[in-house]
């Protein structure tokens, strides 16, 4: 049984007030949120303990410098309560990580919001005078895909937080004059006790949510078709991933790739000269370093079913590969095998840790 609190202030201010409230009343010992840095136009995630510093907080700023789910998991378990404002996909990443025993959600008050997507790095970096930003907010109010957001954001249909303790209404709302916070969990309601605002039954989300979902579903079909056309067999793979310079930045920023050392960077994939020479004799020519495509397919095998399409991999790819869209597309396929949705439910076991006796029954029989 959840409630909603309406604060007669701009949505971001309303949220910040709530965070201030939590911090000053010591309901939490720190707040994790996006914030402005001293450097013009640069934002980072900060863990804030001094409520004064919340004045720099921009919890709803459309940027994902790092995947917060990954960051949160890195310094959990939290021994004291902490409030964190993160995007729905970051929340899902966090849940996937927790399933893999990478950190715990204990002591977190997880606040998320109906997210219209976040800017690509290039867009945000060149956004002089916040032109893009003001357009972004207009689009959010209209419930449309804003300009300059990540490719996978434009097709994301999980932009209404599935989990979390508090949801902030954003898309299609009058967020310049009021903030609406929905409290889903007991923990959240208790924390909100004493916080000023008009409490009521939870009202429906704006119907713009529905229309945007529809829009994005059809966008997704288009995008996936396009990728499908590029990804035609080995040749297609090489066209697309042939550019890969093997920096493996994608795996390092990937919230699902939790390995300390990626298997594909292990000595297992260093070859004896003789092995390479033999390969050379057979082919007449070969790329060095090798295993470029192997790495990509291998990684898909390891994590695609848990891919939340946060888009970090695409952002960091120096070779401009649409990594995220490609992985999301394959990931939806592999997840579908087990009607799995990454980050939907903490109780849903990671597909590769379990099995059903009566599934996939044709495989191996024919």
């Amino acid at each position: 049984m959840s409630i909603q609190i309406r604060i007669k202030k701009g949505v971001e201010q309303g949220l910040i007030d709530f965070l201030k409230f939590l911090l000053t009343n010591e309901k939490v010992s720190a707040v994790f949120t996006l914030r402005k840095t001293p450097k013009e136009g640069v934002y980072d995630y900060g863990l804030i303990t001094d409520s004064e510093m919340l004045t720099d907080a921009v919890p709803l700023h459309p940027l994902m410098p790092v995947n917060a789910g990954q960051e949160l998991s890195r310094f959990t378990p939290m021994k004291k309560p902490v409030a964190a404002v993160i995007k729905p996909c970051e929340l899902r990443s966090f849940i996937e990580l927790v399933k893999r025993a990478q950190g715990s959600m204990e002591n977190f008050l997880l606040i998320s919001y109906t997210c219209a997507g976040c800017f690509r790095f290039d867009v945000s970096l060149e956004d002089q005078g916040n032109k893009h930003l003001s357009d972004y907010w207009k689009a959010v109010e209209r419930g449309e895909n804003p300009e300059g957001i990540r490719e996978t954001c434009t097709v994301c249909e999980y932009f209404v937080p599935i989990n979390g303790d508090v949801t902030v209404k954003l898309i299609g709302e009058k967020f310049n004059d009021e903030a609406v916070l929905i409290f889903h969990t007991k923990k959240a309601e208790e924390m909100a006790e004493g916080f000023e605002g008009e409490r009521s039954e939870v009202e429906q989300f704006s119907d713009k949510i529905g229309s945007l979902t529809e829009k994005r579903r059809s966008e997704k079909i288009k995008l996936f078709d396009r990728i499908g056309k590029e990804m035609k067999g080995l040749g297609g793979m090489i066209d697309v991933f042939g550019r890969c310079i093997k920096c493996h930045g994608c795996s390092r920023v990937c919230p699902i790739c939790l390995c300390i050392l990626c298997d594909f960077e292990s000595s297992l994939f260093d070859y004896d000269v003789s092995q390479i020479e033999k390969e050379l004799l057979r082919k007449g020519a070969m790329r060095l370093p090798t295993d470029t495509i192997l790495y990509q397919i291998g990684r898909m095998n390891h994590m695609s079913f848990s891919c939340v399409g946060c888009g970090m991999c695409t952002e960091v790819c120096p070779a401009n590969i649409s990594v995220s869209a490609i992985f999301l597309r394959t990931g939806e396929e592999t997840a579908k095998l087990f009607d799995y949705v990454p980050g939907r439910d903490i109780e849903e076991p990671v597909p590769v840790t379990v099995y059903k006796e009566d599934e996939l029954s044709t495989l191996g029989e024919e």
Binding site: P38, K39, L47, V273, L288, C317, N320
Partner: protein, 381 residues
């Protein structure tokens, strides 16, 4: 350190310098002087380049000596080939001077075994920024051709290339192609070691031309570059002077560590700063936050960069791949080549120039690098 030979052969240019070099490479394979040639090749998607080890001469036509960009640092390709020991095939690697220098450093670090490898370098006009090339490869190709042929010297190469004073023949290469600028005049083929001499012998090429003019023009450019270098370093100095300016310079850093994984010198399988050792306990982070009222994520970004400097700056060859790999366009390479200039200067060490010159090790006792240590301390704070 041995000095550069004064004689070379002048190879007539047919259909452009790079074509000529390719023909030469092809004949090297045909004549059996080499079993394989490591050279860059445009990827099928046509918007980047990869290193390809070629045995069958017919593949040479697809290759490109001196690509417009450095997608993967050549030394990395060589490392992936010979990290575990010398091979039985005779291989020639056609690379940029900075790639040769990185190779030399990796040899010193036992990551490359050169026994059966011959290093061939080419006068390098610099490389284009990867981001620029990938967005419009065809313009990139045109720009680079103009630059290479000397038709247009104003093409803007990567920042570090513009201040590079190691763009030509190095003591550590075996064979070098000296460009005479103007098309048609031909390229100098300069043997620079016994290996190099032997090749010319086997190819029955006489190195009788004197190189004085070419050498002078190179020297001129080097001097010019040295000036620009000094100027640029003045600016960069302020970017790294003290912890706060470091904070400012690396403010955008998202801690993806692309710079480290693209770096040819950072050969660690697992970077110390990615290892479990540097994972931090939540209480510790909370304390840190309390001290300043807030803490920025990912934590220890500055520590990472400063730490990396202390690990590799002595061997840094200013190849610039770190800047190319940075998703938030931080001028990593400028900073690192400046710091490298300092640390290497401290020991009068010139990374990648001479294979005989050992990497100075006892760095931490020295007063001069205390600065770095200070930074680390502050960063760890």
């Amino acid at each position: 350190m041995k000095d550069i030979s004064n004689k070379g052969a002048l190879i007539p240019v047919k259909g452009g310098v790079r074509k000529t070099i390719l023909e030469f490479a092809k004949s090297l394979l045909r004549e059996g002087v080499f079993d394989g040639i490591l050279i860059s090749m445009r990827v099928p998607a046509k918007d980047s380049y990869a290193w390809v080890l070629i045995k069958d001469p017919s593949f040479i036509d697809k290759a490109t000596p001196l690509a417009p960009i450095i997608a993967v640092q050549g030394a990395k390709a060589l490392k992936s080939f010979t990290r575990k020991g010398k091979g039985s095939m005779k291989i020639a690697a056609v690379m940029r001077p900075c790639e040769i220098r990185a190779t030399v450093e990796l040899v010193k670090l036992n990551q490359i075994h050169l026994e059966n490898i011959t290093l061939i370098s080419i006068d390098c006009p610099g490389a284009l920024p990867m981001s620029y090339y990938i967005k419009n490869p065809e313009d990139g190709e045109k720009d680079f051709n103009d630059l290479f042929s000397g038709k247009d010297r104003t093409v803007s190469t990567r920042a570090v290339c513009q201040i590079c004073d190691h763009f030509s023949i190095l003591p550590s290469c075996d064979l070098h192609f000296g460009l005479t600028g103007e098309e048609g005049e031909g390229v100098f083929l300069i043997p620079n070691s016994e290996k190099g001499e032997r090749i010319l012998k086997e190819m029955k090429i006489k190195s009788s031309e004197t190189l004085t003019d070419w050498k002078n023009s190179v020297k001129e450019l080097i001097e010019e570059r040295k000036k620009q270098r000094a100027e640029r370093f003045q600016e960069v100095k302020s970017m790294v002077a003290g912890f706060d300016s470091m904070l400012d310079t690396f403010a955008k850093c998202i801690g993806c560590h692309n710079c480290q994984s693209a770096c040819p010198i950072c050969y660690c399988r697992l970077c110390y700063f990615d290892s479990a050792v540097s994972k931090q306990d939540s209480d510790f982070i909370l304390q840190k936050a309390r001290r300043r009222g807030g803490i920025s994520f990912p934590v220890d970004r500055i520590l990472f960069h400063v730490g990396r400097m202390s690990h590799m700056s002595l061997s840094c060859v200013s190849c610039g791949v770190c800047s190319d790999a940075c998703p938030v366009s931080i001028p990593v390479a400028d900073v690192f080549s400046y710091v490298a200039d300092q640390t290497q200067g401290t020991f009068e060490y010139r990374s990648g120039e001479d294979i005989e010159e050992a990497i100075p090790v006892a760095q931490y006792q020295l007063e001069e690098v205390r600065g770095v240590e200070e930074l680390i301390k502050q960063a760890e704070e």
